[in-house]
Symmetry: C2
Amino acid sequence: VTIRDVAREAGVGVGTASRALADSGNVSKESRARVLEAADRLGFRPSFAARAFATGRTHTIGALVPFFNRHYHLAILQGVQAGASADGNALIIYNVENAEQAGKNLRFLASTRRVDALIVVALSTDLVRKVFPHELPFPVVGVDRATPEGVSIEVNHAQGIHLAVSHLCGLSHERIAFIDRFQDPISRQTGNDRMLGYKKALAEAGLPSMESYARLADYSEDGGNQMARELLALPDAPTAIACASDIQAIGAMRAVRERGLSVGDDIAVTGYHDVELARYVGLTTVKLAALEMGQAAAEVAIAMVEGLEPQVPALPAPELVVRESSGATIKAGRGVPHRE
Amino acid sequence: VTIRDVAREAGVGVGTASRALADSGNVSKESRARVLEAADRLGFRPSFAARAFATGRTHTIGALVPFFNRHYHLAILQGVQAGASADGNALIIYNVENAEQAGKNLRFLASTRRVDALIVVALSTDLVRKVFPHELPFPVVGVDRATPEGVSIEVNHAQGIHLAVSHLCGLSHERIAFIDRFQDPISRQTGNDRMLGYKKALAEAGLPSMESYARLADYSEDGGNQMARELLALPDAPTAIACASDIQAIGAMRAVRERGLSVGDDIAVTGYHDVELARYVGLTTVKLAALEMGQAAAEVAIAMVEGLEPQVPALPAPELVVRESSGATIKAGRGVPHRE
DNA sequence: TTGAAAGCGCTAACAC
DNA sequence: GTGTTAGCGCTTTCAA
């Protein structure tokens, strides 16, 4: 049953039927009612494909995201989803686990105009550029990429880490280590903004910046665990360990406990991202505006599809979330996972 | 640049160009090469919309899922994603937070033929049926719904809970409570299979089934916490608490600690689902084949789109995952979150 | 093996 | 306000 059937049934032309169905004005109340009634009676279902074909818009936006199961990226995605669906757009998620897959997805996306816009989350700009020496046939907006080209939603990671380290300084720690994470070939190049935030916070507190305290580890629990072990085995072991991710921090907390020490009491630990997990394990961390970033990205992308000039909104700054692991709220019940 | 341009450039007809591009046979090697070369030179990108329009297939499958952030559903989704993309299909996720939203999404999906098939995760059959008194214009496959109609991938929750409770019986507990979860208007109607699994396990161990031990609570940390408090305040307090979800179990663990008791040592607690969190808090739980279920659903859906008879594959049975919270591995380092 | 031509179902421009 | 018509870009007959 097509729009033609509906038009015939309603005794109008297809044009009128189309206008009535799309609610695009220029239809008398009467015709409108008859068309709608006829459509309903016939069980008319407009074809998405035909509509997309005729209008050139798929009302779909794509998101290229690494590591489907990383909480932080999921939060961003949730924001993208919200922003997209608010405008009636569907979201297709392209999962990226490695460079090869990223290339495949990107090539596919570029080759068939399946989406109206693409949101690229946390992916290395180099990677994207390598796959697309030329222009993509739709707008692209980046999220959380340190060397952004074109339109991009960014977070100030230097500021974020600065927050955590300053917090530790404020708790009178003088030996503060930082476990950053390795750069991988897929993820965004972060430059060294996190490390800069760490050093800046130390400098502001009048603390020396020691080479042996600035570490790089895998972006994993084990990565954090290993590196924390090394740090704790140092003759001049740190009394506080800031981490570049919550997941590494959880590994570091384990290292502290495995040494027979108490997290928060003997050794302070901080994370980064404020993933859901952090709450349950009492981790002091830095909350990023992941949801808002995703939503902003979707909104900007949609605006670009409409041909508007992209206007990136201001986003909430990183925010310190104090829990037990930094030792600042020990009296509140250390060791007992509790809710905020 | 359309297929017509490509055909002209290659000196062939559009038919030949189409066949060459789609690799659908009946094209001479020579023509094929020329078409491909021309397409490449011109930077031809086939229009997804036009193709979908012409073939009637969108190569997209939809997934209707409640609560985007529930780990268990996410795992299912990851499976769906894998199954769908293996066959070159995209996945559109329709997030459902309440009955109203579910209805809206379903109506939208039904009204515009945007997807080739729909996968309905954990949603109440009643809800779906209420929105669709009639047939949907595409195949629908359910996942984890207790009163399945049509094609559906199911888990044996009675067996799953039975596993956990039997484990507790095996640890010589004699007062074992069970915190089930309320039925909500969106989620699947579970009948009472979980409760049945609990009672069956008790019966097998020769334990009486006490009314005051079988509880219903919110599907949340607080829900589990509240109910565990009540249970622990009982004159004949249980020594073990099985829960219908990991998240409730985490609340229950907190209740135990808040009473000054030790989880695993004084009071055993078990969860259900084995979400990622469970590992970090040392929760003994039951692992469900969420990923496999999702993947199977996608495969079945795709088969149905192709017109094949759906053949639901056998899935891994629920599996007990023993960690510290049940007291079975206390010596392994109680209280220290550790990895398996 | 090939080219021409007929749609797929809708929107939008146009004349009325 | 309305009906007619010309596409949108592809696939798939159908004859040749």
